[in-house]
Symmetry: C2
Subunit: 601 residues, 2 copies
């Protein structure tokens, strides 16, 4: 009955132990207000009363007390409470954000037309800076801020939280959104300007260039690009933003000290009154990309994720084989633990080039590209160019699905390209087996899904036959009545869930396994079969078993858009938490008498 | 036993009627030489004697007579014989090509290290200009030239035909290949330069920017970019190439009259001797993009392909609904017949932006993007951004698979994105039904595969239920023993093949049809079922029927890399010519007694 309460109360109550007494008091007051009133968060005549943002604004008005007056303090607290995020990116843009507020560019809700121009936020991950500034200005309550990344407040810009645009998948999208909007306004005959707030890193993306080139060539006069030039992505940029390039396409270029909100406001205010397109380069500075709580006791010693051990495993492979290796990553060396392990080339935020860099190398060189699985989705033609013409190609596809979400079945799409095979190893031996397989079959690109999670490896693995399956729980002497077949990381989750159930469990590292006849015979004999993959179900592992073998597998996988939350919170939202899997397996056992199950779980 | 003969003899003999008497005489002499000798095209010690290019070179030496001394004449004859191609693009670059030959940049075969620099040809479709120049210089025979686009000589650069690089899929790939090679040479400590021959249109591609930005930021000093600035893609470019941009990333910029090979040679020669990166902008001119034989009698009146009727069908839809429409295409308006039918925006050669342009438009506007199916493959993240946040999105995906090849299952990948459904209409009524369906379900992006072929529509279609199937050949009163189910254009081909066989034939316009229970019952009752799709089999229509319904469908689809040939020659290479389909259907009938068929056809 109260969407606002339903959304924020749970995560906010979970955050209470991490709040100061004053913060707790305010959150409880706000929640009480929400809960008892049919007020701003409730239904009016059976319909939500205004947008989510408007309702939050209403709540802020009802509980007007402010705990902080400086949005930098609010940002720090949001990240301390969340325990993760991009505090420094937010701080680097904060003066720019304040200038946008001061100039009236931040709309009240999603409606456009107010203020002197439209604002598109291309640096999507600085949404928290806007939320913090809204808080100190009295237009957001504290409660949502305490739920950042934890199921309440998303970390990226979203129309329902007062932004003009929503960003989900790609860096550089914001510039395209801004140019698309500027074109639409021009087409309608207005000269209303569009301000696009972008980062110097995201300008590396090819699509940002495509947008600026188009804007120039068709003569758009209403685009104002504001660049947070902090000269840093995750690693420092190789060179500062190229002002010659920007001036060649946008004409008027101004620079400002981006650490000084008044300087930014003055310069941007001037550009808004001048005719024609322009660019404002704000020189800012940024600390460490990823937030780590200053209080080291808050977390145990950081154990690396499986993905972060990739560098070490590659180094071992190189020692063992002596093979020349060329590693390319678009600013994600840290995620794969490359530094200090293997030489690598940081190609900047330019995924398509990263793949393209493999096209001209000697045949025998092991070519490694390493980025997030979803970032390949804008490079599949280039990747096909590589899979059809390059030998010894290893594609590392990170699997995090963190705050940005992702293409839920990116792995499946990669597997559909010509001359590719996809694996998701969960032990160093399986990873090594993928590399050994590539050595034996160098004309096939090996796509290796690398899970960004910390987990204990299962007792057995597929390293002896990376294309086959291994029974983590073997069937007993009698013919099995039910069984579960898993792909990659899901095998780890199911293994835990299955500990005291004993459902026969076949684990595969290959997305399209070549099962041994004996294993296939066991599966064919089962009355009910479940497949589990922490992966998009459509076109994935389980559907492949149905299609290739006509096995009546009940497919358990990700079916909807991936949840934009930290790993532990993602799992239950996709039915992948071990207790949920345990329940799913138990149902399999209980229904021995129920006959065939429906086609899909 | 003679690979050279096997490859060129068939297409060359087929071309004989289109050759002059002198050309015919030379071709027959070359073929005779090839056929009777164990010479340059044959095996030596059971292995091919040198690369394809080296063997062709050997043949040219053995039959040294030259019919033409001007490569422009040769190019014209190649295109007259082929009947299609990009003559004007080749002519616009011909002086640049001649300058590359004169400077010793064109390697003899694929080996590198010779000549003053490495040459990467980014304008992949000017391969014929190199072949023509090779011919007049005595390093290629005439026979392969007479087989352009007809199964002998490919129209794009290929390592096996004397180029340093192969291009298959993406515009802009060549610049990435050049930068990757320059980076590799720098890493090895040489200062050998890489010359990249690019077009001004392909510089619109985001990846070309990614490559130049990277080259600049990591300080590559060995890249020389040569731009054929003819100011024209298929349509004229909105603005000439931006020299300020190029100078901002490459430093030294020279301009030359690109119609004057001596001017190009002098400027490029100078740049090769100077230290550091540079760019040479060659001002050229270009006529009509697509070659049409001057002799109008060679072809009947041009009947438009189905894809080329899209503009008219969209115009009708707009008249009918009055809905606001925004159409974006990356220079492919002609292919979809947009001009004169609906207003459209040519976004230049920038597919990702083309998709991105839809993100900021009003909800009710019908957003249409129109390009080749394979060109979406470098924009699937951006497309997911659109399919998750935009309403009323129509994605027209051209299906030609011409000289460039393509991602054989691009349509399947598009169908795996969130919130998409894929159709391949073959009648105007089916196309209209797709649009009507989008009107009823605006939150789902409708991907409409548009076939670039001329064909007669089948007698029945799926317009009454675009998600279902329609029997083009209905089953008789007795239960059907065999049946064929087809997707889109394959239904037209099968309908022709099936004319006197009478195999029950269910035609579907949807890639993932929702079959009526009665139709499904017919299929379930069949002992043998065939599915046919002119589409990648992996993850496609037939495999979907197996996966969703556990039907033992024998899947007939495209399994290997798509053939880079004109449509009529592609069909037999993928088992899709009606006589081959007829034979396939007949086998289905003959094996009534043979029991279940294997999983895949």
């Amino acid at each position: 009955m109260n969407a606002l309460y339903d959304r924020f109360a749970g995560p906010a109550r979970a955050a209470l132990p991490r709040l100061t007494p004053a913060e707790s008091a305010v959150v409880l007051r706000e929640l009480a207000r929400l809960e008892r009133s049919a007020g701003p968060g409730a239904l009016r005549d059976g319909r939500p009363a205004g947008s989510l943002f408007e309702r939050l604004r209403g709540l802020a008005a009802e509980v007007p007390e402010r705990l902080y007056t400086d949005s930098a303090d609010v940002l720090l607290r949001m990240h301390e409470i969340a325990g993760s995020g991009n505090l420094q990116s937010n701080l680097s843009s904060l003066p720019l954000v304040r200038a946008c507020f001061a100039l009236g560019l931040v709309a009240d809700g999603a409606q456009s037309g107010a203020g002197p121009a439209e604002l598109i936020v291309g640096r999507g991950h600085i949404a928290p800076a806007f939320h913090a500034e809204h808080y100190v200005r009295g237009t957001l309550p504290f409660t949502p801020l305490a739920t950042l990344h934890q199921g309440g407040l998303p970390g990226v810009v979203d129309r329902e939280l007062g932004f003009r645009n929503t960003m989900r998948y790609s860096l550089g999208v914001g510039v395209a959104q801004a140019v698309g909007l500027a074109w639409e306004l021009a087409r309608r005959g207005t000269d209303r300007k569009v301000v696009c707030l972008a980062g110097d890193g995201e300008l590396h993306e090819g699509v940002a260039f495509e947008a600026l080139r188009f804007a120039h060539d068709v003569g758009l006069t209403n685009l104002v690009l504001v660049v947070d030039a902090n000269a840093k992505g995750i690693e420092p940029l190789a060179k500062p933003v190229n002002t010659g390039y920007l001036a060649a396409y946008l004409g008027r270029l101004m620079e400002a000290d981006g650490r000084d909100e008044w300087a930014v406001q003055a310069a941007l205010g001037a550009l808004l009154t001048l005719p024609g397109p322009s660019v404002l380069v704000c020189r800012t500075s940024k600390g460490e990309h990823s937030f780590r709580p200053a209080d080291g006791t808050a977390r145990g010693p950081a154990r690396p994720s499986f993905a972060a051990t990739a560098g070490r495993m590659l180094a071992r492979h190189q020692e063992r084989t002596g093979r020349e290796m060329a590693v390319f990553t678009p600013d994600l060396a840290a995620r794969f633990g490359l530094r200090g392990q293997v030489p690598y080339t940081n190609t900047g935020l330019a995924e398509t080039l990263t793949v393209g860099m493999t096209l001209s190398l000697p045949e025998d060189t092991l070519k490694v590209v390493a980025t997030d699985a979803m970032y390949y989705m804008d490079s599949l033609s280039m990747l096909t160019e590589a899979t059809t013409s390059v030998r010894n190609l290893l594609v590392l596809a990170g699997r995090s699905w963190g705050a940005w979400g992702g293409a839920h079945n990116a792995t499946n799409l990669l597997g559909l390209l010509l001359h590719t095979r996809v694996y998701e190893p969960v032990t160093p031996a399986e990873f090594a087996a993928c590399l050994a397989r590539l050595g034996r079959d160098p004309a096939t690109a090996h796509v290796v899904s690398m899970v960004d999670a910390v987990f204990d490896p299962p007792g057995e693995d597929c390293s002896a036959d990376i294309d086959g399956g291994v029974w983590l729980t073997p069937p007993g002497p009698d013919p099995a009545d039910v069984a579960v077949v898993t792909f990659g990381y899901a095998g780890v989750l199911v293994d835990e869930a299955n500990r005291d159930l004993g459902v026969p469990h076949l684990h595969c590292a290959s997305l399209t396994p070549r099962l041994a006849p004996a294993d296939l015979a066991v599966l064919r004999g089962c009355r009910r079969l479940l497949s589990v993959e922490y992966n998009g179900a459509r076109g994935g592992f389980g559907e492949g078993l149905r299609s290739r073998h006509l096995l009546p597998v009940e497919v358990h996988g990700v079916r909807r858009d991936i949840a934009r939350q930290v790993h532990a919170r993602q799992l239950p939202l996709h039915g992948m938490a071990p207790d949920m899997l345990r329940e799913r397996l138990a149902r399999l056992l209980e229904s021995r008498e129920a006959g065939r199950a429906p086609a899909h779980a």
